[in-house]
Each structure stands twice: as C-alpha cells, then as structure tokens.
C-alpha cells in the first residue's frame, strides 16, 4: 500500500502485542470523539483496522511518526521486533493499557514457562488432538519451502522491558476519558515529564463515590466474593468484606467497577511511590485484617482465592520478582 497521504498532520501508529483486543476496542469506544482524533492525526499504521504492512513502516524515516500507541505485553520475538521497529520510527512510544504498562493478564503466564505452556496447550488439554506430539517450531520445511513462526519467550515482558517507553496509559483497557485527555495533551504538546503514567497520582479511594463510608479503621475477619453478598450500593465495598483493591490502585478510571458493584481489581496499577503493586496491596490487606492470632489469620487469608493471581492480576511481569522462579538444569 502507498504512503499515508501527506497532509502535514502528525502521523501516529497503533500496534498490538500479546493482548486480547480490548485495547483496540477501547479506541473504537471513543465513539464520536474518535472523529476528533481522526481529524487531527494521520493514522499511518493500525493492523487491526487498516491494510498497511510492516514493510510500509520499515520504509518510513526514523522518527517520522509523532507517536506509537502499543498495547499488549511482549510474549514473542515478532512482538519484540515490532516494538523495536516502532520505537525507531517514533518520537514518542506510549504503552497503552495494563498489558503494555505492567504485563497485564497475559503476564500471569509468568507463573509458568514455555515448556509447561506448550505441554499443556499442545499435548495435554482435553480438546487437543495431536497424536504426533508436534510442538510449535520457529522453522519448518514443506516441500523445500521454509515456513516460519515467531519464537515464544519463557517470560512475558512489559513494553518498557523491551524498548524505552515515554508515557503510560493505564487500565484494562484505558477508559475513553484518559485516552482523550492523553491525545489532547499530545496534540497540544502539553505532556508531563517523560516516563509519567497519564492518570492522577493518587489512590482510587480518593475519587470513589463510596469514599465517605470507608471507616477510618477497617477491621475485617472475613473476605467475601461478590456473588456471596447482596452488595449495598452506597457503602465502601471493602467495609462490606469485598476485596476491593482501591486503596492500592491508581485513580483515573472514575471508579467504574466500583460504581457497578464490582470491587477494584487493580488494573490501573500502583501510584508513583510504589515499586511493586502486589507487595503494596498485600500490605494494605494485612493492615485491615482484625486478628492477631496466627491460626485465625491463616484462616482469614484462605478466603482469598489465588492470592498471587489476585494481588498481581495485572502486574506480575512488572513486579520485583517478575516471574515464577525458573529451575534450571545444572
């Protein structure tokens, strides 16, 4: 396909790595506001919607894209290559969404590794029919014609573990509000310091409509799950025993989940003062459990199903430990 028309408008690219497509959806969710965006920029690359190819990007001059919005974590060599290519062609790289920002849901695969994932998916899962036990290969010859597939890393990475990132749009997916604010700031050249997360640097509780009913000192002896309670619409969810991660999570989403009676699960990640989201969330939970007795504490925490998956739901690759320990051959 030919070059994008030369209109003098800033060129931008959208790309997806290991993602579910929800972040692409979020762009469409801008509704009428998308016209404002499309009117102000030229979209030079957007595989999900437009038929530009990788070679079109390769043909661009370095730095000729004003910004690349990249969603998804980095799982394969192809994603790492595309991130590197877009970095080279772009003035700004923006990590779009929880997966690019912190590793996101795909990052939970860091509890396993390539071998165990391949074994499960291609050999063991009940719906698999693979009598020869064929696993994905990066190269295969068929009648002398080579076929290739991207390589699959053991470890899922955040975007900034692969290329330098200028800004982060948090959320799973980012909300229309924060996307628009970011795009407007970008167009006006009013962006904050590089490396910033483009959302308020305070805890979600601060902007939560239930904030006033959150007691000064919470004392929980039981954690409940949303289907086990008739949620009171006006009261702080944590005070009702629901595991709401609002105290540990960055604000900016407008408390959408909480307004829908669902506790915050932490997709906006931590504030700037926190290095490891799960560690901080764990600390917050430990503060509100009202027991000093060893066995009772164990019993209370047993009510949290899958603590690691709960505390690091969106941020395992960005955590201090980054993944489950790999046991290596001697």
């Amino acid at each position: 396909m030919a070059d994008a028309p030369q209109t003098g408008k800033p060129k931008v690219a959208f790309y997806w790595c290991a993602s579910c497509g929800g972040c692409e959806e979020a762009v469409v969710d801008l509704a009428e506001a998308i016209l404002e965006v499309v009117g102000a920029v030229d979209i030079a690359f957007w595989p999900v919607a437009l038929d530009f190819k990788r070679r079109d990007v390769e043909a661009m001059e370095d730095g000729s894209l004003a910004a690349s919005f990249i969603n998804g974590a980095v799982r394969t060599t192809e994603q790492a290559e595309m991130a590197q290519l877009l970095r080279q062609k772009s003035k700004l790289v923006i990590a779009f969404g929880a997966c690019a920002h912190l590793g996101g849901i795909p990052g939970l695969a860091n509890l396993w590794d390539r071998e165990s994932i391949f074994r499960r998916v291609y050999l063991e899962s009940p719906s698999t029919d693979n009598p020869d036990g064929v696993l994905p290969q990066v190269r295969y010859e068929d009648d002398g014609r080579p076929l290739t597939l991207p390589g699959f890393f053991d470890t899922v990475r955040t975007l900034d573990q692969v290329v330098p990132v200028d800004y982060y749009l948090p959320g799973c997916p980012p909300t229309p509000n924060i996307i628009l604010q970011a795009v407007r700031a970008l167009l006006r050249g009013e962006l904050p310091a590089r490396g910033s997360v483009l959302a308020p640097d305070q805890a979600l509780c601060e902007e939560c409509p239930r904030k006033d009913s959150k007691p000064e000192r919470l004392g929980l002896v039981e954690f409940k799950r949303p289907h086990q309670v008739l949620v009171d619409e006006g009261t702080c969810l944590l005070a009702q025993g629901l595991l709401c991660l609002g105290p540990a999570t960055r604000a900016g989403c407008g408390a959408l989940c909480v307004k829908g009676n669902m506790p915050c699960s932490g997709c906006f990640g931590p504030t700037s003062r926190v290095r490891d989201y799960g560690g901080k969330a764990l600390s917050a939970l430990a503060s509100i459990v009202a027991s000093n007795a060893g066995e009772e504490i164990v019993r209370i925490f047993q009510q949290i199903p899958d603590p690691t998956g709960t505390l690091y739901r969106y941020s395992l690759p960005a955590s201090l430990l980054r993944r489950r320990r790999e046991v290596r051959a001697a």
Partner: protein, 166 residues
C-alpha cells in the same frame, strides 16, 4: 505444576559448589537487634551469612523490602521482632505476622521455598536464640542451594530468534 528442569533463556546454572547462602535479616531495634548485639558481646559464634538491617520495628518491614531482597540476590530473608504483646509500638509485630502469613503463600506460588523466608520472635535477652535460628536457617538454605532468580534483563535480539524458541 511440577518443577520442570530444562534450559531456559537464562542459560545453565553454575554448580553450587562452595555455596555460601546470603541471608538478609531485618531485626527490630528493640528486641532482636539487641539480642544479636548481645550475642556479639557474649562472643557467641554463629554463621556469618547474615546481613543484618536494623529497623525500628518489624512492622516497618514493607513486603516490598522482602521482595527486593530476593530480587537482588538474597537466598533467604529473616525477620526478627518482639514477642507478641511486647511490641514497643503495641501492634507492629502483629501486622508483621499478618503480612508474613500472606506473603509466604505468594512466595510459594512464585517458586520460593518456605525455608527461605522466616519470621521469629526474639526478645532482647535471647542471644542464644539468635544464634540457633541463624545457624538453622543458614543450613536449611544451604541445603536448598542458591535461589538464582535472575530473569534475563535484555530481550534476545531478533536475529537470534531461532535460538530463543528452539
């Protein structure tokens, strides 16, 4: 998931011959640190593998400190605080107990064995207990071998992709 032994991006692990465990110990200023001091002035001998960090209270030990210690190469982390009821700040050690309970569960799912993370109540006079706990933990961790958590920082460059995904 069973422990898989196979070669990964990080390459082979060196033989743990002559392995000396590195243990990071967070000792509370009012109890365990004084006990460790007393062990020193009483000329008690214990394994030199422990790097002691004094905190005002065991409750000051943010779970992030523990995670960072492991991430930066500790083979074990020991927290020492005052006995229940004896906390200088009333409740700090109970908070530590709650964090410890949940954190060890998380660490287990991340492949860090329970013997590598320990919480002990040791009062100012219990120098002998410092010695016993440190010696025991060092031997347990020595038996487990090095933790070796490193994840390769660099993404292998695309040209080597075939090596990556063999």
């Amino acid at each position: 998931m069973p422990e898989a032994t196979h070669t990964t991006e990080g390459g082979a692990r060196a033989a743990p011959e002559g392995f000396e465990p590195r243990i990071v110990a967070f000792f509370c200023n009012w109890c365990t640190y004084i006990a460790a001091d007393l062990a020193g002035t009483s000329r008690m001998k214990y394994a030199p593998n422990v790097r002691v960090i004094r905190t005002m209270c065991s409750g000051r030990v943010d779970p992030q400190f523990v995670l960072e210690a492991f991430a930066r190469g500790a083979d074990g982390v020991l927290i020492g605080g005052c006995h229940p009821g004896d906390c200088h700040y009333q409740e700090g050690n109970y908070k530590t107990l709650r964090r410890y309970t949940l954190l060890r569960q998380v660490l287990a799912t991340l492949g860090i064995e329970p013997q590598r993370f320990r919480l002990e109540w040791i009062s100012a006079s219990e120098a002998e207990r410092v010695r016993a706990v440190v010696n025991e933990m060092v031997e347990q961790v020595r038996a487990l071998g090095p933790l070796r958590l490193e994840v390769p920082q660099e993404v292998p460059v695309p040209r080597q992709r075939e090596e990556v995904a063999a």
